[in-house]
């Protein structure tokens, strides 16, 4: 069994929990890949018909049946369980995470519709860990570079999301969260009623999200106790988006980047004050 003193290992373990849940969710909904399903390969292969990659990717196409993908998802679950017992720094641990990366890349060819930012963050982390821990070639410095890449991508994601919201009239008018929460797709009846009862909460929530997301990269430059404010905010934000909006996979994918933010903050040669 591995010990969670290593930051990279901690990133991987948090991510693994989310990937395990997400993969089990795909197994539960495997009928979406059936011949009569929403992402049936009979239809989805048309997406690749005009592409030169078709010949290159042909060997993978046999996998995209309902049974092929079921097998792929079960293997992915086993790989994730294996990563609990074999550290990333071991050769076997690296083989396991490489196979995990292959399984994620393969399934991404058919889940173009339906995947979200958490799936992209998960793939981004897994591929970075594979590249930065290649046995025999990767150095400790490369492992650090990998953590920097993961942390900077997390900061970019929050910052871009914040700036895009600041540029939106609906977010600035404090109506965006009320409107999103009132949908059945991403909202809830209780949240809608709460925001109708306390209209001031709309303004607080919209501006809170816009300001904190935009300023999130400050967590790299502030002294650690102040940087923690951003990470605690992020934890609370993702917890509530999981609770109210059902975005459970975002919680794990983004929490997995937080150890990397801790690492960068502690590597910074200077802080703002």
């Amino acid at each position: 069994m591995i010990v969670l003193t290593n930051i990279t290992q901690l990133v991987l373990m948090i991510l693994s929990v989310g990937l395990f849940v997400s993969t089990l969710e795909y197994i539960k909904k495997i009928q979406i890949f059936a011949p009569n399903g929403l992402l049936s390969w009979n239809v989805m292969q048309l997406n690749w018909g005009q592409r030169n990659q078709k010949t290159l990717l042909k060997p993978f196409f046999k996998l995209f049946s309902q049974s092929g993908l079921s097998t792929l998802f079960v293997i992915r679950c086993l790989l994730l369980v294996g990563l609990v017992f074999f550290p990333l720094q071991s050769v076997f641990g690296w083989v396991l995470i490489s196979l995990l990366a292959v399984s994620l890349l393969t399934s991404s060819l058919i889940t173009r519709y339906g995947s979200d930012g958490s799936d992209q963050m998960s793939m981004l982390i897994v591929i970075t860990l594979v590249l930065c821990h290649l046995p025999g070639l990767a150095s400790p410095r490369l492992a650090d570079i990998g953590l920097w890449f993961i942390g900077l991508q997390a900061c970019l994601s929050y910052s871009v999301a914040g700036i895009a919201k600041l540029a939106s009239a609906e977010w600035r008018a404090s109506t965006a969260i009320r409107d999103v929460f009132s949908t059945k797709t991403y909202g809830s009846k209780k949240a809608t009623l709460f925001l109708q009862k306390y209209p001031a909460a709309n303004g607080f929530l919209c501006w809170n999200v816009m300001i904190m997301e935009t300023l999130f990269p400050l967590c790299l430059f502030l002294p650690w106790p102040y940087a923690m404010i951003f990470l605690i905010w992020g934890f609370t934000f993702h917890f509530f988006t999981a609770l109210i909006m059902g975005l459970n996979s975002f919680f794990w994918a983004f929490m997995a980047t937080y150890p990397a933010l801790y690492f960068i903050n502690h590597q910074m040669p200077w802080h703002l004050f």
Partner: protein, 182 residues
């Protein structure tokens, strides 16, 4: 010495790769530019270059509805039936939410369809060619799998949107397809 060299070379290659990846991610955020479109269509085969503008600049504030009906005879049509897309979540959805996949797929497909309608209208003056687009085929495939009243029917689908729990606006029509033999 040889090992040290290969380590340094590998470190350099991976660092340059990650730097390019980060740069492409930044460029991809300017989603309306030709460069971002080039990245998405030509480079990003595995959807590895994210677009991080969650719920902005236009937050999704409507629920989509997918309905279909059959032409039984030239003058007789079945009632409209709705495909169940927007199911309410359970208490455990914060941890275990498999339903989100169906909803997200249809939401992505419908949004993709909705976003390309103006392009088709602009290019051809109508939306006839839309039926050859990938999102249209996915929607048609989905509705064609629903229960039929007879083996050979003609089916039409309709995409509509509502304003969720607020019910401030009446349902609005997004797209009405022609009848397809299924």
């Amino acid at each position: 010495m040889a090992k040290l060299n290969s380590t340094v070379i590998y470190e350099f290659i991976v660092t340059v790769f990650l730097a390019c990846w980060f740069l492409l991610t930044i460029l991809n955020q300017f989603k309306d530019t030709k460069l971002a479109e080039f990245i998405r269509v030509k480079i990003d085969v595995f959807a590895l270059i994210p677009l991080w503008t969650f719920f902005a600049p236009r937050p999704g504030k409507t629920d989509y509805h997918l309905l279909y009906r059959d032409k039984i005879t030239e003058e007789q049509y079945s009632e409209w039936c709705e495909m169940d897309i927007t199911e309410e979540r359970t208490f455990w959805s914060w941890f275990w939410n498999p339903e989100k996949r169906d909803k997200k797929i249809l939401s992505d497909v419908v949004q993709s369809l909705v976003s390309c309608i103006p392009d088709y209208r602009k290019a051809t003056g109508n939306t006839n060619l839309l039926m050859f687009s990938m999102p249209y085929i996915i929607v048609l495939h989905a509705v064609s799998q629903c229960k039929k009243q007879s083996p050979n029917v003609y089916r039409q689908f309709m995409l509509a949107e509502t304003s969720g729990y607020q019910e401030t606006n009446p349902p609005a029509l997004i797209l009405l397809s022609v009848f397809h033999q299924i």
